[in-house]
């Protein structure tokens, strides 16, 4: 239960990037999990070559993914959106980017499972008689910190309010003199950077392999739909829900079926509350 909440914080961080990209650009980014994978590899190699601590590698993985996001958006996604391609083409495009990233990782990093072993990987602390994994607790705190920073950025800065304006109405935003192209690039890059950060945070408690992206793309999508597409608070609620459901499922039903439970909740939400748990529809 507690570990579910803690993992849920990370899910929320991953989904936050996806929901932001969706909110501003109306694109479901199917390469999102693959960005996570890239973030995890960045963290892993830094650790392996220079022994850089996974938490310290945040400083590098965030900018790396930011730049990756800028390049992809500027040179691949934006031209396609500009050509007014139908929605499914845009999703397929991101799926294609995901496939390329996965397979590049397969070629460059071999299909082995890697993990980062730090002294504190298995450390636990006792909180109110419940033993909590220390790295997971840190992850939770850091991901909430990042979410808070993002919130401040979006709410308080000029760029942030431009992002909100584009999310509300791109045409009106353009009329107001906002460079929407630049804003979408920034948004996509921030979304990627968030998931890159999540990659670094995941590394001490998880292992990385090239095909990991697919799993997390689906998880992020489930979280985003659970919370309501395009809603930041929704992704927080959705992330925590999924985390808790998975850990309860793993404990009481079966370890292997916990992923299935996520899908079942997802389907139930789609049937009974298609606008998501938080209910702010942006369809």
């Amino acid at each position: 239960m507690v570990s579910g909440i803690l993992v849920g914080g990370l899910y929320a961080l991953i989904a936050l990037g996806m929901t932001m990209i969706f909110g501003v650009m109306r694109i479901v980014n199917l390469a999102h999990g693959e960005f996570l994978m890239v973030g995890m590899y960045v963290c892993f190699w830094l650790f392996k070559w220079w022994g850089i601590d996974p938490y310290l590698s945040l400083i590098i993985s965030i900018p790396t993914l930011f730049i990756l996001g800028v390049l992809l958006q500027r040179f691949i996604i934006q031209p396609v959106i500009k050509a007014q391609a139908p929605g499914e083409n845009q999703i397929l495009l991101t799926a294609g980017i995901g496939l390329v990233l996965t397979n590049l990782a397969l070629v460059l990093c071999s299909p082995n499972y890697y993990t980062v072993l730090t002294p504190y990987s298995n450390a636990t602390v006792l909180v109110e008689k419940i033993s909590v994994s220390l790295p997971m607790l840190w992850n939770f705190i850091i991901s909430f910190g990042l979410t808070g920073l993002l919130y401040l950025f979006v709410m308080k800065t000029d760029v942030g309010s431009s992002i909100r304006a584009v999310a509300q109405n791109p045409d009106a935003a353009r009329l107001m003199g906002i460079n929407t192209d630049r804003i979408t690039i920034i948004t996509f890059a921030i979304g990627s950077a968030l998931v890159g950060a999540a990659g670094s945070l995941f590394m001490p408690i998880y292992y990385v392999f090239p095909a990991i992206g697919e799993i997390f793309t689906l998880k992020a999508f489930i979280v985003v739909v659970l919370g309501g597409m395009g809603s930041a608070i929704g992704s927080l609620v959705g992330g925590l829900t999924l985390g808790v459901v998975e850990s309860i499922g793993a404990a009481y039903i079966s370890m292997g079926l916990k992923d299935g439970l996520g899908f079942i909740i997802f389907v139930l939400v789609l049937i009974f509350k298609p606008s998501g748990l938080v209910g702010k529809t942006r369809f």
Binding site: I76, I91, L92, L99, G260
Partner: protein
């Protein structure tokens, strides 16, 4: 070139021509690898054509057709292994299983539109994969099912079998499209609200399109199981190798066109076989790259772009 285009415009004639050539090929060429390539091309043509009926003509892009493919494969194999039902009957059963499972999935997912629909079908296909994977007592789970004595033993036999399935699928799809129902499908694709206002029960017809599409996908799943002798949940419910590949083939060839699935599968099969030697395990790299290139430069697919050019 323009003469060729002219012939290709007459779909019936051109199809007959291709059919005759395809029927003669195994009598002339005995190279097993060559036959294997053509079998793969036809397999993907069927999958592409049945996806195209739903995604191309009815406008409901699905990212989870592996659900029906896998259901078909497992239905045929389980009926044979557990109940001893002949694998020939299994083909029909596979189609029915695919169509049956598509109805509840469709009933739920058609509440959603566009990308949400596409991805929710994908979620269902993952649920099915997990169920098959963990219901070990019935489905053998990750061990998979090995068919020791599949329906046919010769490559030529499979060649004609998949040829028959291809013809059946292509004929059914073009027959449906020529009927009133086909025009309903197109109307739903162009403007679902307007179609509804004109008295078309859009959800019902979307379900019909999905059902037909899933039926043929299921049959192809059974064919795949027989042809390769072996299935497991990771192969037949694969997102990248089945679901996305189906979409890729149609988008590459030309979405919503008659020739799109055929052209797309020729290119994809030949390229992925060609690149398999170079990239080995990462042969999907070429898929990804193809997707990106096609969407950036040929948004309407090969056939779609050629058509647009010659219409002028």
């Amino acid at each position: 070139m323009s003469k060729l285009i002219h012939i290709l415009r007459d779909e019936t004639k051109a199809s007959l021509l291709i059919l005759i050539i395809a029927a003669i090929v195994p009598l002339v060429i005995r190279n097993a690898y060559f036959l294997h390539l053509i079998i793969l091309i036809m397999l993907w043509t069927v999958l592409g054509a049945s996806w195209n009926l739903l995604g191309g003509y009815t406008g409901q892009v699905s990212f989870g057709h592996a659900a029906f493919f896998g259901m078909g494969a497992y239905a045929a194999c389980l009926l044979y292994v557990k109940l001893g039902v002949s694998l020939w009957i299994g083909f029909i059963a596979a189609g029915i299983a695919g169509a049956l499972i598509s109805l509840p999935i469709g009933a739920i997912c058609f509440r959603l539109k566009g990308p949400y629909f596409a991805l929710s079908v994908l979620a269902f296909s993952e649920v099915l994969r997990l169920i098959i994977l963990h219901w070990k007592s019935f489905t053998e789970g990750a061990v998979g099912i090995l068919l020791i004595d599949p329906v046919l033993s010769s490559k030529t036999g499979y060649y004609y079998l998949i040829l028959a399935i291809t013809v059946l699928t292509m004929m059914t799809v073009s027959y449906v499209l020529r009927k009133r129902m086909g025009y309903y499908f197109l109307a739903i694709r162009e403007d679902e609200d307007a179609a509804g206002a004109l008295g078309i029960f859009s959800t019902r017809y979307k379900l019909v399109a999905l059902g037909i599409s899933a039926f043929f996908t299921g049959i192809t799943g059974a064919f795949f199981a027989n042809y390769t002798n072996y299935i497991d949940p990771y192969i037949v419910f694969s997102i990248g190798d089945v679901s996305i590949a189906m979409v890729l083939i149609v988008v590459l060839g030309g979405i919503g066109t008659y020739w799109g699935p055929l052209i797309g599968s020729v290119i994809v099969v030949l390229l992925s076989e060609g690149f398999r030697n170079i990239f080995a395990s990462a042969s999907l790299l070429i898929y990804g790259a193809l997707i990106i290139i096609v969407i950036m430069f040929l948004p309407r697919g090969i056939v779609g772009n050629i058509k647009a050019r010659y219409r002028k």
